[in-house]
C-alpha cells in the first residue's frame, strides 16, 4: 500500500465500527465478499444512463450466487456526471476499502478514475466507455470489457452489411446525422477511416451534425429530408432520437430505414414515449446474445426486479464487469489487488451474455473479441437481427410509414 493512513476521521471510525459490527468476516482478507466500488453518473445530466447501469448492478447478486461465484460487497459512488467528482469519489471509495472499481460510462470520468486506479494499484474494470485512448496508456490495472469507438464503428458497418444481406435490400444513399459530442465526433472520424475499407453499398449524401443540447431538430430533419436519401445513418442519443423521430412524423418523411450506431433508439424511454412510432429503427450496438443462457437469466432477473424494462447494453455490460470481478476473485483466492489484476488478465469466460466468444483481455487490458450486434424495435420489444448466430428474428425492411401507424 502506498501510504498508511494515520489520520482517521470520525466518519472513517464510524464506518469501520459499523462494518466491524455488521460483518466480522470482512476483516479477514482471505474470505468474505470482495469490496467493489461502483462509480456511475447517478445525478447530473447523465443521470438517466447512470441509473440504468445501476439496474445491472442491482440484479447481479442473485445471478452471481447461482453461478457459484463469490459474493461482492457493492459500494455505490456517484460521479455526478463530473470529472472532478469522479476522481474524488474514486479516491474516497479506495480509502474506504474498495478492492476493485467498476465504472463509469463516461469517457472523461473513466479516464480520471483510470488514473487513480492505476496510481493506487487497484484493478478497475470499465463497464462502458468508448474512447480508445483509455487502453492505450500502458496501464496494468485497467481493463475494459466494452468495444472502443473504432471497434464500434467497424462492427457497425459489418453488421449493417449482414443485415442488408439477410433483408436482401440496401440503401443506395444515406444521410448521416450525428450529435456533435465526444461520441458522435469519434464515430464520424471512424466512419471516414473505416468506410472505404469495408466497402459499404451506399454513399453518404450529406453529413449533418447537431448540438447535443439541441431543443429542436426541425431544421436538421428538413435538411436531411431535402437530400432525398434512402435511409438515415445516425449517431446520437436518446434525446435527439426522440426529437428526430417526432420531426420525421411531422414533416411526413419515412426513410427506408434508420440505421443507428449508438444509443438512444432502442432505449425504454424512446419506446414508451413514442409507442407505435418507435417501431422500425435498427441499432448497431454492443448487445447481448439472446441465445446464451446468461442472457436469459439476466432477462428473467430484470423482468422480476424492474418489470417493463427491456434488457439492454447498459445492464448487460455493467453486469459483466461485476462478473469479471467475481470470477477473478474466485480464481485469485485473495483480495490482494495485484493478485486480482493478474487474475483478471487471465480471464476467459465463455458463458457470458454479450455477443462474441466471451470475455478475455489482451495485453492492453482490452477485450478485443467483442462482436457488435444489430437489433430492431418491434412492438415495444428489441429483436436481435444480426449476427446470424445470435439472431432471434428477421429484419423488417423497409420501415412501415409513420403516417399509417394508428
Amino acid at each position: 500500500m502506498n501510504r498508511t493512513c494515520m489520520f482517521l476521521s470520525r466518519r472513517q471510525l464510524l464506518a469501520t465500527a459499523a462494518a466491524t459490527i455488521a460483518a466480522p468476516a470482512v476483516l479477514r482478507a482471505q474470505s468474505g465478499p470482495l469490496k467493489v466500488g461502483v462509480l456511475l453518473p447517478r445525478s447530473g445530466y447523465e443521470a438517466g444512463i447512470g441509473q440504468d447501469c445501476q439496474r445491472g448492478v442491482d440484479i447481479a447478486a442473485g445471478i452471481l450466487k447461482s453461478l457459484g461465484l463469490p459474493e461482492l460487497s457493492i459500494m455505490n459512488g456517484d460521479t455526478e456526471s463530473n470529472v472532478d467528482t469522479a476522481r474524488e469519489h474514486a479516491e474516497k471509495l479506495i480509502s474506504d476499502g474498495a478492492q476493485l472499481l467498476v465504472g463509469t460510462f463516461d469517457s472523461g470520468q473513466t479516464t480520471a478514475v483510470a488514473q487513480v486506479a492505476e496510481q493506487k494499484g487497484i484493478p478497475f474494470v470499465i463497464n462502458i466507455a468508448g474512447a480508445p485512448d483509455i487502453t492505450e496508456q500502458g496501464y496494468k490495472f485497467v481493463f475494459r470489457n466494452f468495444p472502443t469507438a473504432p471497434m464500434l464503428v467497424r462492427d457497425g458497418f459489418l453488421e449493417q452489411k449482414e443485415v442488408f444481406e439477410i433483408a436482401g435490400n440496401a440503401p443506395k444513399t444515406v444521410v448521416f446525422m450525428r450529435v456533435n459530442d465526444t461520441f458522435g465526433t469519434a464515430m464520424s472520424k471512424g466512419f471516414a477511416a473505416v468506410m472505404p475499407k469495408v466497402g459499404m453499398p451506399y454513399t453518404i449524401a450529406d453529413e449533418i451534425s447537431y448540438d447535443p443540447a439541441a431543443r429542436d431538430l426541425s431544421v436538421e430533419v428538413t435538411k436531411a429530408k431535402a437530400t432525398n436519401a434512402d435511409a438515415i445513418l445516425v449517431v446520437g442519443r436518446l434525446n435527439d432520437a426522440m426529437l428526430i423521430t417526432r420531426e420525421l412524423v411531422k414533416q411526413r418523411w419515412t426513410p427506408q430505414a434508420i440505421l443507428s450506431v449508438g444509443p438512444g433508439w432502442y432505449e425504454d424511454q424512446y419506446i414508451k414515449t413514442l409507442g407505435k412510432l418507435s417501431d422500425g429503427p435498427m441499432s448497431f450496438v454492443p448487445w447481448y446474445d439472446p441465445n446464451k443462457k446468461l442472457s436469459k437469466m439476466l432477462n428473467d432477473a430484470l423482468a422480476k426486479a424492474y418489470p417493463g424494462v427491456n434488457l439492454n447494453t447498459n445492464h448487460v455490460y455493467t453486469f459483466e464487469a461485476l462478473l469479471v470481478a467475481a470470477d477473478a476473485y474466485k480464481r485469485a483466492g485473495s483480495t490482494d489487488p495485484k493478485a486480482l489484476a493478474d487474475a483478471i488478465r487471465t480471464t476467459n469466460i465463455t458463458d457470458n451474455s454479450s455477443i462474441g466468444p466471451g470475455i478475455s483481455f489482451n495485453a492492453k487490458g482490452q477485450n478485443d473479441k467483442i462482436i457488435g450486434g444489430a437489433i430492431q424495435n418491434r412492438g415495444g420489444k428489441l429483436i436481435t437481427i444480426a449476427p446470424k448466430g445470435a439472431a432471434n428474428g428477421k429484419p423488417i425492411w423497409p420501415m412501415p410509414s409513420y403516417q399509417n401507424r394508428a
Binding site: 447512470g50 456533435n180 448540438d211 431543443r215 431535402a226 426529437l243 424511454q269
Partner: protein
C-alpha cells in the same frame, strides 16, 4: 436545395422563435422590472412542465386547457418566492442575486431529479404529431398552437402594462424605484406581483412546451441562457420585444443551421447577442437607458 426547403426552414424558424419568445416573456417581465438576474428561469419552466406532465397523466387534461390553471399556480409560487426570499436582494449587488438564484436552481433541479427520476417525461396528446400542409410548406401543429399562445399572452401583458392601473404602477417602479416609493406605491407588493406575473408567463410557456419537447430535470439551464439572449436582443420589459427577439434568434438559428453546420448554429445567437450588447444595449424595442 429548392425554395421549398428554405421556405419550410424559415417558417419553422419563425414558429420556433415565437415559442422561444413565449418562454422568454416571463424573464422579460422579471428582469425588466424587478431587475433580478433570474438564472433559475429555465428551472422554473421545468417545474411548470412537470406540473403539466403530472396533471396530464393523472387527470388527462389537455395542455391547452391547463394553460390558465398552471399559470395561476406558478403565479402563487412566484409571489411567495419573491416576497419571501428574493425581495431583500433587489438592492444587493448582482453577484449576490446570482448566487441566490443559482442556489435555488440547484435545489430545484435535484429535487426534480429525486421526485421524478432522470427519465424524460412528456405529454402525449392526440394531436401531438399533426402538421398542416400549406402548399410546399409543412407546418408543425403543436408549434402553431404554442406560437398562438405566445402572441395571445404577449398581447394580454402588453395591454396590462399599458392600460391598467396596476400595470402602470409596476412600470413606475421599474422606471424610478425611489420615485415610486415617494409617490406612495407599495413597491414591495408590486415587485412580488410582477415576479408572480413573470412566473405565470413561465408557467404558460412551460405548459405549451410540453407539447413540443420532453422534460428532464436537467432541462433548465439551456433555456435560461436562451431566454437571456432573447430578452436582451428584444429589449428588456418589452412584451413585443421578447417575441421579436425570439423570432430573430429562431430564424437566424434555423437559416444558419441550413446553410452551415447545425451544431454551430448557437454561435449565431450569441453573435447577435454580442452585437446587440455593443451597439444597441437596450435591445430592439427597449427604451434607451439613461
Amino acid at each position: 436545395m429548392g425554395v421549398d426547403v428554405y421556405l419550410n426552414v424559415a417558417v419553422a424558424g419563425v414558429l420556433t422563435g415565437l415559442v422561444y419568445g413565449l418562454m422568454a416573456l416571463g424573464l422579460s417581465v422579471i428582469f425588466g422590472v424587478v431587475r433580478i438576474v433570474n438564472f433559475a428561469h429555465g428551472e422554473m419552466m421545468s417545474v411548470a412542465m412537470y406540473i403539466a406532465v403530472v396533471l396530464f397523466s393523472t387527470l388527462h387534461l389537455d395542455p391547452l386547457i391547463m394553460l390558465v390553471p398552471i399559470a395561476a399556480v406558478m403565479f402563487v409560487l412566484g409571489y411567495a418566492l419573491q416576497a419571501g426570499l428574493i425581495n431583500p436582494f433587489i438592492t444587493r449587488p448582482e453577484h449576490s442575486q446570482f448566487l441566490l438564484v443559482v442556489a435555488l436552481a440547484i435545489i430545484i433541479v435535484n429535487a426534480l431529479l429525486i421526485i421524478f427520476g432522470p427519465d424524460a417525461r412528456s405529454v402525449q396528446t392526440s394531436y401531438a404529431y399533426d402538421s398542416f400542409e400549406l402548399g410546399p410548406v409543412i407546418v408543425d401543429a403543436s408549434k402553431c398552437y404554442a406560437a398562438a399562445a405566445a402572441i395571445v399572452v404577449s398581447a394580454v401583458l402588453f395591454v396590462f402594462f399599458r392600460s391598467t392601473l396596476i400595470g402602470k404602477a409596476i412600470r413606475a417602479c421599474a422606471d424610478n424605484y425611489t420615485g415610486a416609493l415617494v409617490v406612495g406605491l407599495n413597491v414591495k407588493h408590486l415587485y412580488a406581483l410582477t415576479f408572480a406575473i413573470g412566473a405565470a408567463c413561465v408557467g404558460a410557456a412551460g405548459t405549451m412546451m410540453t407539447l413540443i419537447t420532453d422534460v428532464t430535470p436537467a432541462l433548465g439551464p439551456g433555456y435560461t441562457l436562451l431566454a437571456f439572449v432573447i430578452v436582451i436582443t428584444g429589449g428588456l420589459g418589452s412584451m413585443p420585444g421578447a417575441l421579436i427577439g425570439g423570432v430573430l434568434i429562431g430564424l437566424t438559428e434555423a437559416v444558419a443551421g441550413l446553410l452551415f453546420t447545425p451544431s454551430a448554429k448557437s454561435m449565431f445567437a450569441f453573435g447577435i447577442l454580442v452585437i446587440v450588447l455593443l451597439f444597441r444595449p437596450q435591445g430592439i424595442l427597449g427604451r434607451r437607458l439613461t
